[in-house]
Structure formats: structure tokens, C-alpha cells
């Protein structure tokens, strides 16, 4: 079976004040269906840039991105938006909820985008929020939610359409340890349901929950470690759900 996500010699150059800055310098990456991959590396190594390119949020300077057998790096903005609706869920470090919509409305948004009726979208959004433990906050504005609650809403929004792959950029980077543990539990649940996860983090304890850890350095893949087998016995990190 073809990998769900593939990057071939992916490169990205930025221009800052007339000077060229190399973000990525030729990254090859393959993610199989159902896999949970963590990308690590120091600040400025290109983690977020790679994630943006893989989600079609940015365009590479060179190289190719393939999603579910379709090359996406040359697609139009409209085609990419349509693709993301069904195949990609994205979770940001700073949550990025739409501030003028309630928690439930934020989660409904992707469902409405794929043509679901309002009533059905609302019901599914409530169920998702309930599953994530924040059903009682469905009518709250993002600004009225804690960081952990906002990230759970963001996760619900990313999972709403059951996308083939969920990409997350430092999803616990802005959360306290309790909220971070809760969010990681939700990611594991998603993986257990067969969803593919690609997560950027600089936190080794977060990366240790993944099947595979890819380390970037200076815009290149510096290291790749399979954790799945190692984690069978004993686990690297025992995550506990909050009481």
C-alpha cells in the first residue's frame, strides 16, 4: 500500500531582508498509514516549516509532497483547501481557534465544509466535545477557555471529519503538564482508532509516545529512530490521565 504521506527532497528557502535563509535543505520522509511519527529538533531546524509544507499551508522551493498518492505541492489554494477538509487535520501550538465562533461552532466548521447539515454538524460537534471532556463549555468563546480546553477544542476540530492524517505543531508547547498529558492521551486514542499522526515537538517525553522519531538539524534529517518495538516492554514513559 502506498504511504499516506511522502516528501521527496523537500527544500524551502526564505528571504529575510534580502538575505536567503535555508529552512529545509532536501528532506526525504515517508509516513505509513496508522503510524504515529514525532519530529524533533532544536529551534529553527525547520520542524514547523516541514509540517506547513506537508499540510500544503506553504509552498516548497524545491521537492515534492505526496498525500495519499496525489502530488499536492503544485495544487492551487482552492484545491489544497478542499483536500485538507477531508484528508488533513491540523493542530497548532497556539490553538488558532476562530475567536468570533464558540467552541462548538469551531468544531462544526469542518463538518459544514464537507456539506453536512447544520443540525447534524452540531450534534457531531457536541459528541466530539463530550468525548474530549469539554461538552459543558460548548457555548464558550475561545477567549473564555483555558489553554488546555482550547487545545482540546482545536483537536476536536482537527478530528471532526476523521481525516486520514492529523498534523500537530507543538500541540503541548503552550500547555501545563496536566493539560499536555491529557492532550497526548487524546492523540494516542486517535492513533488507536487507526488515524495517522505526525507531530512536531521539542519535548522528548512527548516524542517518546510516538512509533518513530525523526530528528531534524539545520534543515536536514539528522536521525530516525523506531520506538514502537522498544516501547512494548517496558514503556519509555507512563502517561497518566488527569484525575
Amino acid at each position: 500500500m502506498a504511504p499516506i504521506l511522502e516528501a521527496r527532497q523537500l527544500a524551502k528557502t526564505y528571504e529575510t531582508g534580502g538575505a536567503k535563509v535555508l529552512g529545509l535543505r532536501g528532506v526525504d520522509l515517508t509516513v505509513e498509514r496508522g503510524e504515529f511519527v514525532a519530529i524533533m529538533g532544536p529551534s529553527g531546524c525547520g520542524k514547523s516549516t516541514l509540517l506547513n509544507l506537508l499540510a500544503g499551508l506553504d509552498r516548497p522551493t524545491a521537492g515534492e509532497v505526496w498525500l495519499d498518492g496525489v502530488r499536492i505541492d503544485g495544487m492551487s489554494e482552492t484545491a489544497l483547501a478542499r483536500l485538507r477538509r477531508r484528508k488533513i487535520g491540523f493542530v497548532f501550538q497556539f490553538f488558532n481557534l476562530v475567536p468570533t465562533l464558540t467552541a462548538a461552532e469551531n468544531v462544526e466548521l469542518p463538518l459544514l465544509l464537507v456539506g453536512r447539515r447544520r443540525r447534524s454538524a452540531r450534534r457531531d460537534a457536541r459528541e466530539l466535545l463530550d468525548a474530549l471532556g469539554i461538552a459543558e463549555r460548548h457555548g464558550a468563546a475561545p477567549a473564555q477557555l483555558s489553554g488546555g480546553q482550547q487545545q482540546r477544542v482545536a483537536l476536536a476540530r482537527a478530528l471532526a471529519n476523521r481525516p486520514d492524517i492529523v498534523l500537530a505543531d507543538e500541540p503541548t508547547g503552550n500547555l501545563d503538564s496536566t493539560a499536555a498529558r491529557e492532550v497526548l492521551r487524546l492523540f494516542r486514542d486517535a492513533r488507536d482508532r487507526g488515524q495517522t499522526l505526525l507531530l512536531v515537538t521539542h519535548d522528548p517525553s512527548v516524542a517518546s509516545t510516538a512509533d518513530r522519531v525523526i530528528t531534524l538539524r539545520d534543515g536536514l534529517v539528522a536521525d530516525e529512530t523506531e520506538l514502537g518495538a522498544v516501547r512494548q516492554v517496558p514503556p519509555l514513559l507512563e502517561l497518566q490521565s488527569p484525575p
Binding site: N52, A55, G56, L57, D58, R59, E77, T78, L80, A81, R82, R84, R85, R86, F90, F92, N96, L97, V98, P99, T100, L101, T102, L109, P110, L112, L113, V114, R118, A141, P142, A143, Q144, R157
Partner: protein, 586 residues
Amino acid sequence: MTLMLIGLAFAGMRSRLLATALTIAIAAAAAGTIVLALEVRSTGIDPWDRTFSEANGAHVLAFVPSRGEAVAIGRLPGVTERGAPAPRVLATMRSRGHDERVELAGSDRHTRVNVPLPTAGSELRDGGIVLERSFARALGIRTGARVRLSSGHGFVEAPVLGTAVVPSQPRYPRHKPGLAWVTSVTLARVEPDRTRWRWSEAVRLRDPSAAQPFAARAAAALPPARPGDVFLQTWQSQRDDALGDAQGTQVIVTMFTVLLLLVAFVVVAILAGARASEQHRQIGLLKAVGFTPRQIGLVFAIESAALGLAAAVLGFGLGAILAPRLAAPSAETLLGSPSIAANPWHIVVACCVVLPVLFAGALTSVRRSTRYTALEAIRAGTVSVPESRVARAVVRGAAPWPVALGLTELLARRRRTLLLAAAIAVTGAVVVTSLSLDATLDSRPASEPSDFPDELLLLVYTLDTVLLLITATTLVAVVLLSVRERIRDYGVLKAVGVTPSQIVSGVVGSHTALAMLASVVAVPLGVGLYLVLYAIAGDSTEDAVIAPWWSLASIPVGTVVVVVAATSLPAWLATRIRTADALRYE
């Protein structure tokens, strides 16, 4: 420290170039509107004063039976300047088979006081006639036409050489008979019997305020005459007659000026509100690095002053360029050849409106910041879910979701949205008023005297156009501000799967829905405004005609067209930003 604060203010403006440019553009439009309104109003309200000045008007105009009496009046003490005594004859003028009484005034090159000011055609010469403009227009006589002048004793076939105005002659047909000028030679051919001539003498006085006592003194100095043979008209009575004529024009121009100023104020208020929400974050950051609220207030005061002054100067220039063109129709209603120069004092008035609103916006932000912690101030400028659940439910239920999304955003910025809707409603109401005025004028028989000069409609539509342009500019600027504030949100929406065209349709659709609501309000508002105007202008509202339904229906349709045109480009530009860049946007 002061230099540092000034530097900080200018650095702030430089770092937000688009916002700075928009601020200057909108404030300049508002200042330009104010200058324009003041110029147009002054030409509409005070044309008699300028006509009087240009014509070297008479402080006292005497109508007497003989030339000797006219000369005697010119020699009375207190007279500083007098024209040559002018003969006058009451005659009949036949044009296109229609007879009309006309007062023929003999005019020659020695006329120095109460000089007729040409408005069209050529100067007076033997054998020809120059008609007073309102007289020519009411009868539909054009330059080059031929008229037959007769007095019962003689007649002349004379070509119409042109038209002219004088401050002493009220508008025809409200005041009959009409006035025309011929040379003394021509007058002698129309009325060979010189004993039937009457005479007029126009004099200027050392003390114009003493015109009334001078007229009484002159009447007493003349030999006893039959009632009606001697008539002395002071400059005050000439002005009262003219102002009575222009009352309808004055009311309408004043009302339009007020509406223009209202829209200008709304525009600046929208701008100040948008800046205030932007400033909260900056205030929080400045507090965080140790600035006191007083110092922060100074930074924003300097910024507002610089922007306001730049806008006022730019707006004044804009108004000064446009005013002569736009005010010309108004000036034409009474004045001969207007020379409209922008009044430098108007820049002060423009500053008085623009600067306080900008200052108020900035100082309100700073005042609020003193109540907030630095962190709260940083967060204070952000929008949140609209408070009204009912409005949200209506929006969600009634509109397709991209439009509902845009409407939710509009509801979240309620104050700005209300001001924008008010500007659209006022503009629509003014257009309804103009259409109704047009309909009323159209419904009157051509021969019926009208309170409204023909040019008034042109002036009204010109002011409509100015108002439309300003509202459309405001709309573009508001949408640009809104989409700029939401670029990050658009990045999020695109990341979730919303297409650029859905974002555009949300922005355009929501503003169109708002404009539709405003234009529906505009129709009854405009009808009410027109009836009030009509009543104030002197007539009862019984014969006021409201614009036909198809004409009123064009208001919402036209509004939609203008809104779609004004909002599409800014919305489209916002979606052109790459998603990753939009997500990083601050």
C-alpha cells in the same frame, strides 16, 4: 524623553504603514468632505453677497419719474459713487407667439453701480437685448433667439444677445415683470415718447448701514409725487428678496451639508474605533517595558496629531481642488461668474472635526489601559464571540454558512458595523431625497413658478455623488481594515479547509446583507427627510411627490452593486496571502 516619545510615535506609524495610510486616507476623505461641504454651502448660502460685491451693488436704488430727480438723488450727501441715471420702460415682449410683460432698462457704458453681470452670450449693443437669466430660463428663450419688443407707440425686433444677473432683481417668475437690458438708442425705438420713460439711479453710500435713513431723506427731498411714482429700494430689501428666493436652495444645501458632515464624522469614528482596538495591544506592550500611562498617552497623542494634520492638509487640498467644480452649480443659481477660492479657515474647521475624534479614540484606549494590567491590555483589542445569542441564532439560521461566518464577524464588531450601516443608510436616504425632489419638479407644469432653481437638482445630484464616493471609500477602507485584522483567522480557516472564494463570498455576502438592511431603512428615512425638507423650504407637503416605487427599489439594488464592487477586491487581496504567512501574521 520627549524626543524618544516622538520617535516612538513615528516608529509606530512606520511599522504599520497600511494602517497609517488608511488612517490618513479616511481622515483626509473626512476633512475633504468638510472643506467641500463648507465651500458648497458658502456658495449656496451667500451668493447674493458675492453677486452684490461683483456687481458693485447699489446701497440704494431709486426709481423716479424724471431724469432730473434721478440726478438729484445721486448728488445727495452721503453718496460716494453713483451710476448714470438709467431710463426704464414697461413693454411687451413677444417670443414664439407668447406675450410677456418686461421692464426694459437702458444700459450704457457709464453704468458703474448695480452693473449687470453677464452669464451667457455677448455684451449689449444697439439693436439687441440681454435678458435677466431667470427670466430667459423661465420663458425658455436662448441666446440668438429673436424677440419683438413693443410699447404701443413703437416696436423693435431684437436678437437676444445673452443673459445677465443683478443683485437688485429677484428671480422670475416669483417677481414680475421680468427684467431686460437694451441700449438707450434701442429703448427710444421701443418707446419714442420719452415722457413715458421712468428713471432709476443706483448709488453707493459712505455708510451702508444708513441706507434706510438715506432713502427716507431722499424721498423727502423729492417733489410730491403720485403714490407709486417714487420707489426707493435699500440693499437690505434687495437682499431680503433674494434670500426669500433662495430659501429652498438654502434649506436643501444646508441639510446636505449636515448630512455630509454626519457621514464624515461617522467615517472618522469608524477609523478611531479601529485604531483603538489596534492600540490596546501596543499599549499593553509599552506598559510591559515600563512606560507610564501618561507617556503612552503622549505617544498616541503625537501619533494622532501627526496623522490628523497630514489628513487635514491633504483633505483641504482635495476639497480646494474639487470645490470650485462642485460648487459651480450652486453658485450659478444666483451668481454671475463665480470665482470660488478655498477658504484657508476651512482647514482649521476640518482639523477641529478630525483631530478631536482621533485624539478621543487614542485617549480612550490609554484611559482603558490604566485600568488593565499589561497582559489584559494586550488581549483587550481582540474580538470575541458576539454577545447577542438571538442575533447569532438568526444569522446562523438565515444565511449560508460562509455568509453567516462573515455576519458573525460583523456582529463581533458591533460598534463599527452600526456606524458603517448608518453611513450607508444616510447615503441611501439622501439619494431617496434627491429622487423625490426630481419627481416633484417633474410633476410641476412648466409655467408654474417654482421655489427651486433648475440648477438645484444638478447640485443635489453632485452632492449625492460626493456622498456615494465617500461612503464607497469608507466601505473599502473598513473592509481593508477588517480583513487586515482577520488575516490570521483567514489562515486558520484555509488550514481547516475553507477555500479562498468561500472567504471572499463570506466577506462580500455579509457586507451586502448589512447594506441591504441599511438600504431598506434608507428608503423610509429618505422619504421622511424629504418631507421635512419640503416643509421647511416653505411649501406644505401636500404637493410633494415621492419618487416612484421603481425608483425607490433601485436603492437596495444600487447599494448591493456598490457594496459588491467596494468589498470584492480587499477581500480577494486578503486571501492571496499564503496560508503559512497568514498564520504568522501579527
